[in-house]
């Protein structure tokens, strides 16, 4: 082969190395990005020891170290660093994060009595407790050996009361409000049509609902009163007194006293909250359950819509359409759809799906609703259905191309064998071609899902919101509310990172949310790949 006998190197070796280099660079970037996200995302939930730092200018700081960076303008040869502490207590400090020049820190200690608090409002707090006012009115000083046990007990019972309150105010009062809205719309309609019997009935219903509303509010008040909520008196770094009602405390921990196991437990509990709870404080705290759920439901619906459309289109293009210049143009257009910026699909979705389709649906089926409810649209506004449809349209080319390839890859012999037994074309497609190309089709669906789940821009136009009051799936008929707006992890990242009033507080959540989004997409893909492999195994022969 080699023209020169002195060289053992085959020609083209340089290209092998070159492509290997390319692979390494690509892999390196992916791994770098993933590890950045994973590291930053995971450490959000870890509770490190919290120092008490004395600064040159006489200040004392209690706070959890958040970041360390080179000071702007410091010489590169001997860089000077500055530290960012999360000090919490936003209501006192104005900001829960604080930058300090590292060189100015005189001393640092880790006293065991530092207490970390996660609160319902105003973010976390790092304080040194003084005394506890129990719910029975007794005062326990921190020096008392019974303090810690009593404190934990009070925190736990306050949490139970808080849950009860949430149950009453959010769920039950929410339900009453929902019914009330419906009844009012019905009443307006009845009054307009002069249906005397109905008017009376609806008036009675509304009075009943108002009574229920009042009684629920009274119930909420008694819960709070009976609970005689305990409170914690403590002082902050500079000795100011801070009184925290324990009903506000979601989690309390002594960061400098915890052993590793305690930290792991705290980590798990925070992670659980992050995944299973609802967001708080402009989404910068609490959990992401609605967003996870919204992303999942939207992606699943998108797949359910794009798969049949894509497969049917591909079958027509490959099996039935007359091959020729027209078909070529159609193919080129379909492939080019994949390159259209996603925001364009968003605009189309808003213009066509939301206004035209949704508007017509409202005119046809929800005319009463429009007329008697201040023109509030049902489907004529962004929602889960339109988001799924828009993304389905966006990912359609992927599925079409994958299906066409898969159909083309079915051995000709199989097709001929089926036709030769007297099967019609459609029977051949249904019985032989589709099952045999199912793995290829699923590959397309996987790609579509991966692209759709991470898409944000078009969704902002057709139904994703920062905070959705209700999930798209719940216990009230018809259970699945395709018209509802929903939350989405991708949008959540954008919202936290760029729209948050407190960007420092949002930063860790950006990473955690990104990590969660990646994990979700990976899980969806693994699920689909698992199905595909099972299908493949069915079609693969053991011998030849």
């Amino acid at each position: 082969m080699a023209t020169s006998s002195d060289s053992n190197t085959p020609r083209g070796e340089a290209w092998v190395w070159f492509s290997g280099l390319g692979l390494i660079v690509g892999l390196g970037m992916v791994i770098g990005l993933l590890s950045l996200v994973v590291l930053n995302g995971i450490t959000v939930f870890w509770a490190p020891p919290v120092p008490v730092a004395n600064v040159d200018d006489g200040r004392t700081i209690i706070g959890q170290l958040a970041q360390r960076r080179v000071r702007a303008g410091s010489p590169a040869s001997e860089p000077r660093f500055e530290l960012q502490y999360q000090v919490g207590l936003r209501e006192l400090n104005g900001n829960s994060y604080l930058w300090v020049d590292e060189a100015k820190i005189k001393s640092e200690s880790f006293p065991a009595d530092v207490l970390g608090l996660e609160r319902v409002e105003n973010g976390p707090a790092f304080v040194r407790p003084q005394s506890l006012r129990k719910s029975d009115g007794k005062l326990i000083l921190v020096a008392d050996p019974a303090f810690e046990v009593a404190f934990q007990a009070e925190v736990n019972s306050a949490a139970i009361i808080r849950e009860k309150l949430i149950e009453i105010t959010r769920r039950r009062i929410g339900d009453v409000n929902g019914e009330m809205d419906k009844a009012r719309v019905a009443l307006r309609r009845a009054e307009d049509l002069k249906l005397a019997g109905e008017i009376a009935a609806l008036r009675r219903q509304i009075t009943g609902l108002e009574e229920r509303f009042a009684s629920l509010q009274a119930e909420a008040k008694t819960v709070v009163d009976r609970g005689a909520i305990a409170s914690l008196v403590s002082c902050d770094a500079s000795g100011r007194e801070v009184v925290v009602p324990l009903i506000q405390v979601i989690r309390a921990w002594f960061p400098n006293r915890l052993d590793t196991w305690g930290r792991v437990k705290l980590f798990v509990s925070r992670l659980g909250e992050f995944i299973f709870d609802e967001p708080r404080e402009a989404n910068t705290e609490g959990g992401l359950m609605p967003a996870i759920f919204g992303t999942l439901v939207m992606t699943v619906f998108m797949s359910l819509m794009v798969t049949p459309f894509g497969v049917i289109t591909a079958i027509y293009l490959r099996e039935y359409a007359q091959q020729g210049p027209v078909l070529r143009i159609v193919r080129i257009s379909v492939n080019n759809l994949a390159g259209v910026p996603s925001i364009v699909f968003g605009v189309f979705g808003l213009g066509f799906f939301v206004y035209v389709l949704g508007g017509s649906i409202d005119q046809l089926f929800f005319a009463d609703q429009l007329k008697y409810n201040n023109n509030t649209p049902v489907f004529g506004t962004g929602g889960l259905l339109w988001c799924s449809l828009t993304l389905a349209l966006m990912t359609l080319p992927v599925v079409i191309v994958a299906t066409e390839e898969a159909l083309a890859a079915v051995p000709r012999g199989m097709r001929e064998a089926s036709l030769a037994t007297g099967a019609s074309k459609w029977q051949t497609i249904r019985e032989i071609l589709l099952p045999a190309s199912a793995p290829g089709i699923l590959t397309g669906v996987i790609l579509a899902m991966a692209r759709g789940a991470g898409e944000v821009a078009p969704l902002m136009l057709v139904g994703v919101v920062k905070l959705a009051p209700t999930l798209p799936l719940d216990g009230t008929a018809p259970f699945l509310h395709m018209d509802r707006k929903f939350m989405h992890l991708g949008f959540h990242v954008y919202d936290l990172g760029f729209q948050s009033p407190d960007s420092d507080a949002a930063r860790p959540m950006v990473f955690a949310t990104t990590l969660l989004l990646i994990v979700l997409v990976v899980c969806l893909n693994i699920g689909a790949i698992w199905i595909r492999n099972r299908l493949r195994a069915r079609f693969k022969g053991a011998s030849f």
């Binding site: 051995p411 001929e416 007297g422 099967a423 029977q427 019985e431 045999a436 079609f539 053991a542 011998s543």
Partner: protein, 274 residues
């Protein structure tokens, strides 16, 4: 093509005397048939009659149009783009191009076994009963009965009767080919077309399939394409020799192999050209 490189002399080929059975002499009748793939003429002026319930072998060098003619008998070549034909093919007196005859019902009457076995990625059972499912047979007992009969006829029953629900793709090459035969005869077609059914098989499997052909010809009219002179001699009642798209000679197998009237035929079967 080992037979061609190491040819048996025509005298050593054992020929079975043509069996005379009752039936139409021109069951399949091909008249002045020509066929084009685009501009290329693959068949030219073919005229031959295939009697009912007999085995007819098509022989000839590679590319001479045997498969093309065979695939025209059940109109499989309709699937190829840009083809054209002239002349007439009738089965039992009726043109296969009759607009009133649906191609699907033609193919249900004319079964086909391909050179390369092509089982479906389904269970053995589903493969065999595919033709019945296609016409809407749902009755499990009927399907099972048809499955067993076909598999017995194709000499595969004993090997697969315990694994009917396994994937057909797990069979050996020869088993797959016999499965394809079982599939082709499950809906009892009148005619069975076989395009080099044994080209990928070992002598034992070949023997089984040849035996099968003997048994099947009581019920089916069989047209078989083969490159093996011995096979043509062993299984067929009549043989047609083609060369470059033309029909050179068509007669009883005995006549073709013992006393061909054309020099080209003689040269081919004695292996002097291919």
């Amino acid at each position: 093509m080992s037979q061609l490189m190491n040819p048996p002399s025509s005298s050593r080929i054992k020929v079975r005397p043509a069996t005379e059975r009752e039936g139409r002499k021109d069951y399949i009748s091909i008249r002045d048939y020509g066929f084009w793939y685009g501009q290329k003429k693959a068949l030219d002026a073919i005229s031959l009659d295939i009697p009912e319930r007999q085995v007819v072998a098509f022989i000839g060098p590679s590319g001479c149009g045997k498969s093309t003619l065979l695939r025209n008998l059940n109109r499989m070549n309709d699937l190829v783009d840009d083809v054209r034909h002239e002349g007439e093919i009738t089965i039992n007196g009726r043109s296969i191009y009759d607009p009133g005859l649906e191609v699907i019902s033609l193919r249900r009457r004319v079964g086909m076994v391909f050179q390369k076995s092509n089982p479906f990625p389904k269970s053995i059972f589903e493969n065999v009963v595919y033709a019945l499912r296609v016409v809407g047979v749902r009755d499990r007992a009927v399907l099972e009965e048809a499955c067993e009969t076909s598999l017995r006829k194709s000499a595969l029953w004993d090997e697969v009767k315990d694994r009917l629900d396994d994937s057909a793709l797990g069979l050996s090459g020869g088993q797959m080919q016999r499965l394809c035969i079982a599939r082709a005869i499950a809906n009892r077609p009148e005619i069975l077309l076989m395009d080099e059914p044994c080209s990928a098989l070992d002598p034992i499997a070949t023997g089984k399939i040849e035996e099968l052909i003997h048994e099947l010809k009581d019920q089916f009219t069989i047209v078989i394409v083969t490159h093996s002179m011995q096979q043509a001699a062993r299984v067929s009642d009549r043989t047609a020799f083609f060369y470059l798209g033309k029909q050179i000679e068509y007669d009883t197998t005995e006549k073709i192999f013992m006393n061909p009237s054309q020099a080209q035929t003689e040269a081919y079967i004695s292996g002097r050209f291919g």
